[in-house]
């Protein structure tokens, strides 16, 4: 769905940045915890599961919100191939946001582990206890996570190219948004003096 506004819905922007922080933290925790037998292992493992389940819950809220509110059109001067790559990369990002926590949950289930999220909150298993399945998912969890990090870096580099080099409003559509102008926003907004002050920083280059 193409959104008529130049910007993503404010709620979607908020959830994007919240999840960005959580997912990056999560990826660093994940590779960090498996790298050590030190006391940090238990501490990081204690954070890994609740954070992973929180990400799964958030993406369950986010995807319907994204489908309902749509995305602003990409700049006209992007080639069809570039637009397709952008669309496919966003699809992959969403898919992985679902897949990684589910692989983690399924992996613990297949390994016969209690899926303990926090003290006193344990999730039911979603797969049978089977070490063959565990071994496959345990390997997949690492590989998908590392590829996900690479995808996120590419996504970030592309966003920064839009914001700092092309300056085409794509980065702004997910950050502070565009200054409301008569064409895209209701005119009465411009007449509200308070709004002018609030919108002032938006005049600065992104």
């Amino acid at each position: 769905m193409i959104r008529h506004s130049q910007d993503f819905h404010p709620a979607l922007r908020a959830i994007h940045w919240l999840m960005a922080a959580m997912v990056l933290t999560m990826l660093f925790i994940g590779v960090g915890m498996v790298s050590t037998v030190g006391p940090a292992y238990l501490t990081l493992l204690g954070l890994h599961r609740p954070l992973g389940i929180a990400i799964l819950v958030l993406v369950l809220i986010r995807l319907p919100l994204r489908l309902a509110t749509g995305a602003p059109a990409l700049p006209e001067d992007l080639s069809l191939a570039e637009k397709r790559i952008a669309w496919a990369s966003h699809l992959l990002l969403y898919l992985t946001l679902f897949a990684l926590p589910l692989i983690g949950w399924g992996m613990l289930s297949a390994g016969g582990y209690p899926v303990r999220v926090t003290n006193g909150f344990t999730l039911p298993p979603i797969l049978p206890h089977d070490l063959g399945i565990y071994a496959f998912l345990r390997t997949a969890h690492t590989i998908v996570a590392v590829l996900f990090f690479a995808l996120i870096l590419t996504h970030l580099a592309a966003a920064l190219m839009h914001g700092l080099i092309r300056r085409d409003g794509v980065l702004r559509s997910m950050t502070i948004g565009h200054r409301p102008v008569a064409v895209s926003g209701p005119p009465e907004e411009l007449e509200t003096p308070g709004d002018d002050i609030v919108e002032e920083p938006a005049n600065l280059p992104a």
Binding site: L24, L27, F28, V31, G32, V34, S35, T36, V37, G38, P39, A40, Y41, L42, L45, G111, G112, Y113, P114, R116, N119, G120, T122, H129, D130, L131, G132, Y134, A135, R138, T139, F149, L153, L156, A157, L160, M161, L164, I165, R166
Partner: protein, 359 residues
């Protein structure tokens, strides 16, 4: 495309720097770059080195085992120390595993090594407590780096069957804490059954009661069967699976029982080093009785495909500051993942059963 003026070049540099910083930070967090740290694979590698070769499909330590099932009858007294559900008066199902230390799944039982008991206690509300215990009240070393050094130093020389003194001597000089364990093993009775050994928690744990008070606790399962020892001079004359066959035969006759004794630390007790014993009188609570009434080979029982990670604890019990606990958790996990990837192989007891059935 915008022309590559100075501002654009600066923007490209900035983007490159941000991406490089993140990728570099990630590689550092993963331990791919920067100062080396001990990971789970280092522990499994040290165990494989000690064993002499990789034994695919088996636990890297305590490879030789026997599954069992039974129940834990809590008398309610443990609730004075921890809110964990399994301490509330009642009967809870138990599965577990007896094992002998070492990475060789087909090793003879006549070795002066740990007898071990691993348990999973489950409460109806879903709480789960995993325990992995040895018949020694203390552990040879206090941290993971020393454990790796121990595995390397004590690798048996194929000619003598004993560690190489040229490697052992400098190790013992660098690790005086091992002397306490050596002294214990020298004088201690080596139980002639899995059923008459006392099994110790090895590490201390934090127990939190309903009032929110937290105490440091070690525990032990004390057998009802009277302790009798193997003749340490004639260990090499024992049949390969003597202890396992003894336990199978014994359980066919009658169940075996242990009392769970929770031992509360005194002020001044060392609670973060498993190599140091707690001495003198201690407040001790009998929390209930463990009954083992059935044993199964690893092929038919429930224990083989489980990781008895001692940090899988119910609410009301948390790890102490003992660094061995995180090390055990991570190393067990690495061993578990490796054998899951390799696929299972026959157990010693499973081989015996197959041989009997073939007759």
């Amino acid at each position: 495309m915008p022309s590559l003026n100075r501002a654009t070049a600066g923007a490209y540099a900035l983007i490159g720097a941000i991406i490089l910083l993140l990728a570099g930070g990630f590689a550092w967090a993963a331990g791919w770059i920067g100062p080396g740290r001990i990971n789970g694979g280092d522990v499994t590698a040290a165990l494989e080195y000690n064993t002499g070769k990789k034994q695919p499909g088996y636990r890297r330590a305590h490879a030789k085992g026997l599954c069992f099932s039974g129940s834990f009858m809590a008398d309610g007294a443990g609730s004075g120390l921890s809110v964990a559900s399994v301490f509330k008066a009642g009967r809870y199902p138990v599965i577990g595993r007896f094992s002998l230390a070492g990475g060789n799944p087909l090793a003879g039982d006549g070795r002066n090594v740990f007898h071990s008991m691993a348990l999973i206690l489950r409460a109806p509300d879903g709480q789960e407590w995993r325990l992995a215990m040895d018949h020694t009240p203390i552990f040879p070393v206090a941290d993971v780096a020393s454990f790796i050094a121990l595995q390397r130093a004590t690798k048996p020389d194929p000619k003598t069957g004993k560690p190489d003194p040229a490697v052992m001597k400098p190790f013992l000089e660098a690790h005086p804490e091992v002397k306490a364990f050596q002294a214990f093993m020298m004088q201690a009775v080596l139980p002639n059954s899995f059923a008459n050994a006392t099994y110790y928690s090895i590490n201390a744990f934090r127990f939190t009661d309903a009032g929110g008070t937290t105490r440091l606790v070690r525990w032990q399962f004390e057998p009802e069967a009277p302790l009798a020892g193997l003749d340490k001079k004639r260990l090499d004359q024992l049949p390969r699976d003597y202890l396992f066959q003894e336990m199978i035969a014994r359980t066919a006759q009658a169940p075996s029982r242990w009392h769970l004794k929770l031992v509360v630390a005194n002020p001044g007790d060392v609670t973060d080093k498993a190599a140091v014993a707690w001495t003198g009188p201690h407040r001790t609570i009998d929390a209930g009785t463990l009954t083992i009434d059935a044993v199964q080979s690893e092929e038919t029982g429930a224990c083989r495909d489980l990781n008895f990670d001692p940090t899988i604890l119910p609410p009301g019990i948390t790890p102490s500051d003992d660094p061995l606990l995180a090390g055990r958790s991570k190393a067990y996990s690495s061993s578990f993942t490796r054998r899951a990837q390799e696929g299972p192989n026959p157990s010693a007891v499973g081989q015996d059963l197959a041989r009997e059935n073939a007759r």
